[in-house]
């Protein structure tokens, strides 16, 4: 199904846990997340705000502010090396060089005091052995690649002289200027209008195909995921509740949360008279979550076992993983009920 299954594994996240210490208790922002990214693949991380999408990716780059945050467990294996065990210096060779990031708000991620050229040349020279002139040429080349008109003169502009869409292009150019294998895009189009969003998404798609860059796309927009991603992971309360190939996930969502999420998006061909499907209630507070399925208070198919234990991740079909008791066998449920009672 997925053409990337044969490709080499680029990044493997195993049981990643990132907790934050707060006055009210331990906030388990990411609580056991595992997924893999193959070379050239685009993986989407979807979920509502506060579900731990962004923290997952900050953890991959070890950018979680500490304190209060702490990566308490798990491995992030990039081409065979565990990023969690690297020294700060070794990490710097990967961060921004092999794995780079673009953020939601392009205005706050560019320095308003420095020219685009200064910022780009700094990045390039930090990671690659180049003279200033070479780095500048490289920067201009990258700006042209992302479709900035008259890049030779525009490179000496300040960020405020660009519009939102243009700034996001500059961010992409900067992120890819060191031949990154993996681009982490954290809600890259949320701050942009639909027509500009379409431009930026087309650009990311084109560039990742041209440069064979793998992309982790974090978003809350299920429409964006449908068009961009090869594989999707749906997150809820710090865990991945379902992951599958995009086509498979949309055609056959197994977890009630995924199903609800897809159903609650107003579709443009929808019937207006119909009520939208809505998931009742609010996303849970991830501080002191009880050891049960975090979705059970909002779920329309709760059963007894959901209140007792967290469902194991089950493989159903081709590369389709889901964490829901509905997909478990009777024996497993009995087992969990006993465990919960003790």
């Amino acid at each position: 199904m997925n053409k990337f299954n044969e490709a080499k594994v680029l990044l493997e996240v195993r049981d990643l846990k990132t907790y934050f210490k707060t006055d009210n208790g331990i906030l388990k922002a990411v609580d056991g997340v595992s997924f893999t990214v193959h070379e050239g693949e685009t993986v989407g991380l979807v979920g509502e705000s506060g579900c731990g999408k962004s923290v997952t990716n900050l953890s991959i780059m070890r950018l979680v502010p500490s304190p209060p945050g702490k990566i308490v467990g798990g491995e992030v294996v990039y081409r065979g090396t565990d990023i969690m065990k690297l020294s700060e210096k070794e990490l710097r060779n990967i961060r921004g060089n092999k794995i780079s990031m673009i953020f939601q708000d392009p205005m706050t991620s560019l320095n308003p005091y420095l020219r685009i050229s200064t910022q780009m040349i700094e990045t390039i020279r930090l990671h690659q052995d180049m003279t200033k002139q070479e780095a500048r040429e490289r920067a201009i080349h990258m700006l042209k690649l992302v479709g900035i008109p008259s890049a030779e003169t525009k490179i000496d502009c300040y960020p405020h002289q660009f519009s939102g869409g243009m700034r996001q292009r500059v961010m992409i150019a900067m992120a890819l200027s060191c031949n990154a294998d993996l681009l982490i895009a954290d809600e890259p189009t949320t701050a942009l209008d639909v027509t500009i969003q379409a431009q930026i998404l087309e650009l990311i798609k084109r560039i990742s195909a041209e440069l064979k860059t793998a992309v982790i796309l974090i978003t809350h927009d299920l429409g964006v995921v449908a068009g961009m991603c090869d594989k999707v992971c749906v997150m809820y309360a710090g865990r991945i509740v379902e992951s599958a190939d995009t086509d498979e996930l949309y055609a056959n969502p197994l977890h009630p949360y995924t199903r609800g999420l897809i159903a609650s998006v107003p579709k443009m061909d929808g019937n207006r008279e119909e009520r939208l499907f809505s998931i009742e209630g609010q996303p849970p507070n991830v501080i002191d979550l009880p050891p049960c399925c975090p979705f059970h208070p909002r779920c329309d198919r709760t059963c007894e076992v959901c209140r007792h234990a967290y469902p194991p991740v089950k493989k159903t079909g081709n590369d389709h993983y889901v964490a829901c008791w509905l997909n478990c066998s009777e024996e497993e449920i009995q087992e969990a009920m006993k465990g919960g009672a003790n």
Partner: protein, 364 residues
């Protein structure tokens, strides 16, 4: 809809904001033409959706209707009364029937007021002046607040809580309760669901349509999400750079978009279905929305349009009537009868500014 009752009519509304050139005297050096000559009607009981990119004047339009800004020129007729020229007293009476819901549920509720006081405030103001049906006592008003809370789905027991104790979706419900407090005829909803997550967004959209069915309130609903607009509105207005590009019934607009901008907008909106999404052809517009601070004597969409013609650069297209209540401002449809003439006359302030600049130029 048969026998539609016209309740609001906007005629050639313009809202220009002066740009000051800095310095001590704050001389006006130009105008941002946020809304630049738009006309539309709103009928009782319907939902009119306004859609467009940021900076196209959606919010300014509804704020002008609520008289939060004094429009530069134009008329806003609410039941035949022009709100722009109405005196304070009339305005106070009329405003009771026009309420707003704002985008950001965090900024639109006063953090120092309890839910009771937030919802009570409009009632108190009108009760004190004796503008409600009768004088209510405090207890009766309290009862009313509790009813409203129940109606929007907030537990009555939370009446003494402060906004920070609620989540975004619940705060938006409080905002809706406040807007409903005076039984308005029309509610102007300025991106009420843009700041919310999908699952919460669906709850709020359902709440709004329930309220409409129950109370017959008319809505003007702004959103930049085309799916949301399609779901909630009966008629849709597409705006670009302060101008209306297309007005039509919602079904007609989505099945048969006429204006090149609408077509591009619809094709740019991602569809949450991988097969459809990958298969379709997308019109990607070039460039960004231009700055609205210039006077334009051409089609406002000219710079980015893929189907531009010579004619488009020469004058502003009027609204052409393409039948079925479908009006579009594009010369591609100029074989249809003209519904409204376009007027691009400069406003008084601009004329003054121009005269001043000319004088300066001559003196040099």
């Amino acid at each position: 809809m048969e026998n539609k009752e016209l309740i609001l009519s906007v005629k050639d509304l313009r809202q220009h904001f002066p740009i000051d050139g800095g310095g001590l005297l704050k001389k006006t050096v130009g105008y941002v033409r946020a809304v630049d000559g738009i006309s539309f009607d709103v009928y009782k009981g319907e939902t009119v959706g306004i859609v467009g990119e940021s900076g196209c004047g959606k919010s300014t339009t509804v704020r002008s209707i609520a008289q939060l800004y004094k429009p530069t020129t134009g008329q806003i007729l609410f039941h035949g009364v022009d709100l722009c020229t109405a005196d304070r007293d009339t305005l106070l009476r009329q405003r009771r029937n026009i309420q707003m819901i704002f985008q950001d549920p965090y900024a639109s509720l006063d953090p120092r007021m309890t839910v009771r006081n937030i919802i009570l405030e409009p009632l108190r103001i009108y009760n004190r002046r004796g503008l409600l049906e009768k004088k209510y006592t405090e207890e009766e008003l309290d009862e009313r607040v509790k009813d409203l809370m129940e109606k929007v789905g907030i537990n009555k027991a939370f009446i003494n809580r402060y906004p920070h104790e609620f989540s975004g979706g619940q705060r938006q419900r409080i905002g809706i309760a406040r807007a409903l407090a005076l039984n308005p005829e029309i509610i102007l909803a300025d991106e009420p669901v843009s700041a919310l997550d999908v699952s919460i967004q669906a709850q709020i959209l359902n709440l709004i349509s329930d309220i409409q069915k129950e109370m017959g309130v008319t809505f003007i609903f702004i959103a930049h999400d085309l799916g949301v607009i399609q779901h909630i509105s009966h008629r849709v207005i597409v705006m670009y750079l302060g101008k209306i590009m297309e007005i039509s019934s919602s079904d007609e607009l989505y099945s048969n978009p006429l204006h090149p901008y609408t077509q591009a907008l619809l094709s740019a909106a991602p569809i949450p279905d991988p097969k459809l999404e990958r298969g379709r052809k997308r019109i990607v517009l070039e460039g960004d929305v231009p700055s609205p601070d210039k006077e334009r004597h051409c089609c406002y969409f000219y710079d980015r349009c893929a189907k531009r013609m010579d004619k488009c650069s020469k004058c502003v297209p009027p609204m052409f009537d393409c039948g079925k209540d479908h009006k579009v401002a594009c010369f591609l449809y100029d074989d249809h009868p003209v519904a409204e003439e376009a007027s691009d006359k400069p406003t008084e302030g601009e004329l003054k500014l121009k005269a001043k600049q000319e004088r300066k130029h001559r003196n040099k």
